[in-house]
C-alpha cells in the first residue's frame, strides 16, 4: 500500500527524519473524533438553554455524556477522555467560568474512571455503566463543592444528586445503547 511507505524529509541542518504518512484508518478516526467533539459541544450548548430543574441547581440531563459513553464503547477510554476534555474546555470558556470547568472536569474524570472499570470487569450493560457514570459524576462534583466552600453539610444534597444521576444516567445509557445498535459502529474503528 502506498501509505505504508515511509517518506524521507530533509530538514535544514537537522539531518534526515522519518515521517510516517498517516494511514487511511487513522485519518478516518481523526475525522470521526472531530465530529464527536463537535456533537458533544453542541449538546453542551443545548443544555445551557434548558432551564434548571425544579429548584435544584447543578442537575442537568448530561446530554454530552451520550458522546462520552458511545466513544467509550466504540473507540476506548483514551478517545472518550480526550473528547470530554475538549468539550469541557470549549463549553467552559464559551458559557461558563473557571469554576464550572473545574466542576465539570472533576465530575467527568471520576465518572469516566468508574465507567471504564465497570465496562472492563463488571458484566454490566451500557445502561448500567452509564448509570454508574451519572451517579459518580454527581459525587465528584459534590466533593469539589465541599472542598470549595469548606462545608461538609453540602452532603445533604447527596440523596437528590444520587437519584438525579441514576435517572439521567439510565436515560443516557438507554439512548447510547439504541444509537449504537443503529450506527455502523464497526466501520468507525
Amino acid at each position: 500500500m502506498w501509505w505504508r511507505h515511509r517518506e524521507r524529509i530533509r530538514f535544514k541542518g537537522s539531518g534526515v527524519r522519518l515521517l510516517r504518512m498517516q494511514g487511511d484508518k487513522d485519518m478516518k478516526k481523526t475525522a470521526y473524533m472531530g465530529l464527536f467533539a463537535a456533537v458533544a459541544i453542541i449538546f453542551g450548548y443545548v443544555e445551557t438553554l434548558l432551564p434548571v430543574f425544579a429548584g435544584i441547581p447543578g442537575i442537568k440531563l448530561g446530554l454530552a455524556n451520550l458522546v462520552t459513553v458511545i466513544l467509550l464503547y466504540l473507540f476506548g477510554w483514551r478517545e472518550a477522555a480526550v473528547v470530554s476534555f475538549i468539550r469541557i474546555l470549549v463549553i467552559g470558556f464559551m458559557f461558563g467560568n473557571l469554576f464550572s470547568i473545574l466542576f465539570s472536569l472533576a465530575g467527568a474524570g471520576l465518572s469516566l474512571l468508574v465507567m471504564v472499570l465497570l465496562k472492563k470487569n463488571g458484566g454490566f450493560s451500557v445502561a448500567g455503566v452509564s448509570i454508574a457514570g451519572g451517579v459518580t459524576h454527581n459525587i465528584g462534583q459534590i466533593l469539589i463543592a465541599v472542598c470549595v466552600v469548606e462545608n461538609v453539610n453540602l452532603f445533604y444534597y447527596l440523596p437528590v444528586l444520587l437519584i438525579a444521576g441514576l435517572l439521567t444516567g439510565l436515560l443516557i445509557g438507554i439512548l447510547s445503547g439504541e444509537i449504537m445498535k443503529r450506527i455502523p459502529g464497526k466501520d468507525l474503528t
Binding site: V52, A54, G55, I56, P57, G58, G96, N97, F99, S100, G122, G123, F124, S125, A127, G128, I131, A132, V135, A145, V148, V149, E150, N151, V152, N153, L154, F155, Y156, Y157, L158, P159, L162, I163, G165, L166, L170
Partner: protein, 121 residues
Amino acid sequence: MKKRDIGLIGIVLLIAFLCWFIPYVRGQFTYEKAQLRITVDGEEYGVFSLEEDQVIRIGDTNVCEIKDGYVTMTEADCPDHLCMKQKRISKTGGTIVCLPNRVVLEIVSRESSEGPDVVAS
C-alpha cells in the same frame, strides 16, 4: 439491561434512601429552633433567627432575605445566579450555596450552632 444493572440501580437507591433517612430519623430536618447560619469562605459570618423578617447583606457580594421563616438569596454578583434560583429553605439541613463567592446559607438548629463539634470545615 442485565440483572447486574438492576442490582446497581437498587444499590444506588438504597444509598440515596439511607443518606436521607438516617438524618431524618435523627431529627436533623425540623422546623423547630431553626436558625440561619451564614458561612463565607469556610468562616462563620453570622447566625440569624428565622422568626423576624430581615434582609441581610453578606459582604459586598450577596444579599439574602428572611421572610415568614423562609430564606432566599435575593442578590448575587456572580455570573450564573444559581444561588438565586434555588428553592427557599426553612428546615434544618436546608442549604443555599453561592459557589463563586463561597457563601453558604444553611439552616441549623439552635443547639448545633452553639456546639463546637458540629461546625464543619
